[in-house]
């Protein structure tokens, strides 16, 4: 390539680093420190945010705060969030698991590729766009906000997460299980329902829990779909606007009064600890059930 002639090798020269080598080593050490620093930075930011939420939020907690309604509690919002996320899970989990089954048991060819692409695109949709879609689909048609509309939006957010997680677990089910069932003359659907699904059940459940952890904190869709409510009244009817934690935090955060801010920190503390605990537990269980499934 280049016309440069490399310096002739002198076997008698001493084996000490020349200036150039010292510079290269120093740069390499600098790069190592920079990479380590970046990792420390990320962990530091996590610690600052989490400790900030704990520090401000823990003092707001009391039994009354958790059970009573507004102005001094978030009881109805907790119940509302639980309802919205539960209905979303009931919609997203079966469809997501069936899609994963389709892709891993029957899927090949062009249709399967389209489905995979659809899941990826769905996963990349901004949650506010999903909120706008469900607003037009349900809220505009019914002319009222509802917790159910929120559930549908959250279900769209959860669907690709459940499907992807289930697919990864199903791929770990040893093919010897399928082959053994085939050799015994068991039909496809019996194999799927009685052999493959049960052996992957633990992993499927934990990836659903991970999707729940993701959906519980989603605010943008709920801001459009279930944000005009009476925060003092608990409701079990999902076809009216349900109080919920994310929009409560969003609303209180804009308020100038220090009492509201402390409530927002309290609600944030509850939400963050729920999400952290569920996703950490789910990850640990998932790692274990992966090993178990693959065995």
């Amino acid at each position: 390539m280049s016309a440069e002639v490399p310096p002739a090798f002198d076997p008698a020269a001493p084996l000490t680093p020349t200036g150039n080598l010292r510079r290269r080593r120093a740069f390499s050490r600098f790069a190592e420190w920079a990479a380590t620093g970046a990792a420390i930075f990320a962990v530091g930011v996590l610690a600052i945010v989490v400790l900030g939420v704990i520090g401000h939020g823990a003092s707001a907690l009391s039994l009354d705060f958790l059970l009573k309604g507004e102005p001094n509690g978030i009881g109805p919002a907790l119940l509302g969030t639980a309802e919205i996320v539960a209905i979303a899970t009931l919609i997203a989990a079966p469809i997501g698991i069936l899609i994963a089954l389709f892709l891993s048991e029957f899927g090949a060819g062009r249709f399967a590729r389209i489905i995979k692409l659809t899941l990826d695109l769905m996963n990349g949709l901004p949650s506010i766009v999903i909120g706008v879609f469900v607003f037009i689909l349900i809220v505009e048609a019914q002319e009222t906000q509802s917790g159910f509309a929120g559930s549908v939006a959250l279900a769209i957010i959860m669907l690709p997460i459940v499907a992807r997680g289930t697919m990864e677990i199903l791929a770990l089910v040893p093919s010897s299980l399928r082959e053994a069932a085939d050799a015994l003359g068991v039909s496809r659907w019996r194999t799927t329902l009685t052999v493959i699904l049960p052996s992957a059940l633990g992993g499927i459940l934990t990836s659903t829990v991970l999707a729940v952890a993701r959906a519980a904190g989603e605010t943008a869709p709920l801001l459009l779909l279930s944000s005009v409510y009476d925060g003092g009244r608990a409701s079990l009817n999902p076809f009216e606007a349900l109080p919920n934690i994310p929009t409560t935090i969003y609303r209180l955060a804009e308020s100038p009064s220090p009492g509201a801010l402390s409530e927002a920190w309290g609600a944030g503390f509850i939400l963050l600890s729920f999400i952290m605990v569920t996703s950490v537990t789910a990850r640990i269980v998932l790692a274990r059930s992966r090993e178990k499934t693959a065995r």
């Binding site: 190592e32 996590l46 389709f102 659809t118 769905m122 706008v132 659907w189 969003y250 801010l261 963050l272």
Partner: protein, 332 residues
């Protein structure tokens, strides 16, 4: 199938056995078809949701699309009371805030990926990897709230004056404003959101680089950095770019956290320390209060733009990442 091939003597009456077998066979055929049908139906639902989503949003935006046309993209007028709308300001805010988030976030995230895959001792790696992913699990509303109460005042008091005093000759670093709600703060929050995404993907990419190629470079006298620069980064380049585009897509579409800290500005400002607005944040801020049909249709129009941007970003990431997936399949 084979159960009846060699009828053993004394097992049931032949006619009854045949009936049982036939019933079982037709049940099996039915079950297979049913299971396939249900699964395919679920898959079709996913496709239908995506198509329906695109159709309904474009349909909802059609009054604004037909009134403002493509001029909507460049017009900077947004006056709901006069029914005049244009996306220029928010497009600018979206581009600037996401660009700076990527500029700050991508190098940090790639460095974290390198640390986790090549430098960290195993014990530290299994602790730090999940912690970095935890950062992605923080809900945006909490991050935005923290940004508003804790980060924005800090940025306004310390970081912005410092940047202004030392680099004030660059128009980007104008005089700090009073609240700390600014495009700059929004970029910092977005940086925090995209770092874990890019970091965890690039960690997996770097882990898949074959060990013997790296050892070969070391044996030729390359320092650790030169191994990274000469072997690891070039062989994973397309994957890292795809990961960055995914992170960028996430930043472009983030509504809540940005709406909380960007200050809902109405003008295009060169200085990062002024307020601004993004596509998603504008929808989140104004949607609940939009009364006139044209205001709503214009917000839908912003949604259409956001949808197109996110689809394009994801398709790009897919297309660029495909090359990498192929390499990984070969490497395994």
């Amino acid at each position: 199938m084979s159960t009846a091939a060699n009828p053993a003597p004394g097992v049931g009456v032949p006619a009854a056995r045949d009936r049982r077998r036939d019933r079982r066979r037709s049940l099996d055929r039915l079950g297979d078809v049913l299971l396939y049908g249900v699964c395919a139906l679920a898959a079709l639902i996913a496709v239908a949701v995506l198509i329906g989503l695109a159709y309904l949003i474009v349909h909802g935006a059609s009054p604004a699309i037909s009134k403002f046309g493509l001029g909507f993209l460049t017009s900077t007028e947004w006056q709901p009371s006069f029914s005049v709308f244009g996306a220029g300001t928010v497009l600018f805010g979206t581009a600037v805030s996401s660009f700076f988030a990527l500029l700050l976030g991508a190098p940090i995230a790639i460095a974290i990926g390198l640390y986790l895959s090549l430098l960290a001792p195993k014990g530290l790696r299994i602790v730090i990897s999940p912690l970095v992913e935890m950062l992605a699990a923080i809900p945006s509303v909490i991050l935005g709230f923290w940004g508003l109460i804790v980060l924005a005042p800090f940025v306004q008091k310390h970081i912005e004056p410092w940047l202004h005093n030392n680099f004030g000759f660059i128009p980007l670093f104008g005089p700090p404003q009073t609240t700390g709600s600014s495009v700059f703060t929004a970029s910092l929050i977005l940086t925090i959101m995209i770092v874990p995404i890019i970091a965890s993907i690039s960690r997996d990419l770097f882990l898949a680089v074959p060990r013997d190629v790296q050892d070969g470079a070391s044996a030729l006298g390359a320092t650790r950095w030169e191994v990274v620069r000469g072997v690891v980064l070039p062989s994973t380049f397309s994957g890292v770019v795809a990961a960055s585009i995914l992170g960028l897509g996430r930043a472009l579409g983030e509504a809540i956290a940005v709406a909380q800290v960007i200050g809902a500005g109405e003008k295009i400002n060169v200085s990062l320390f002024e307020t601004g607005d993004t596509l998603a944040a504008r929808i989140a801020n104004q949607f609940p209060g939009a009364i006139t049909a044209m205001h709503k249709a214009s917000l839908y129009y912003l949604g259409v733009i956001l949808l197109v941007i996110s689809l394009v970003a994801n398709l790009c990431a897919q297309w660029i990442g495909k090359r990498f997936d192929y390499q990984r399949a070969v490497a395994k």
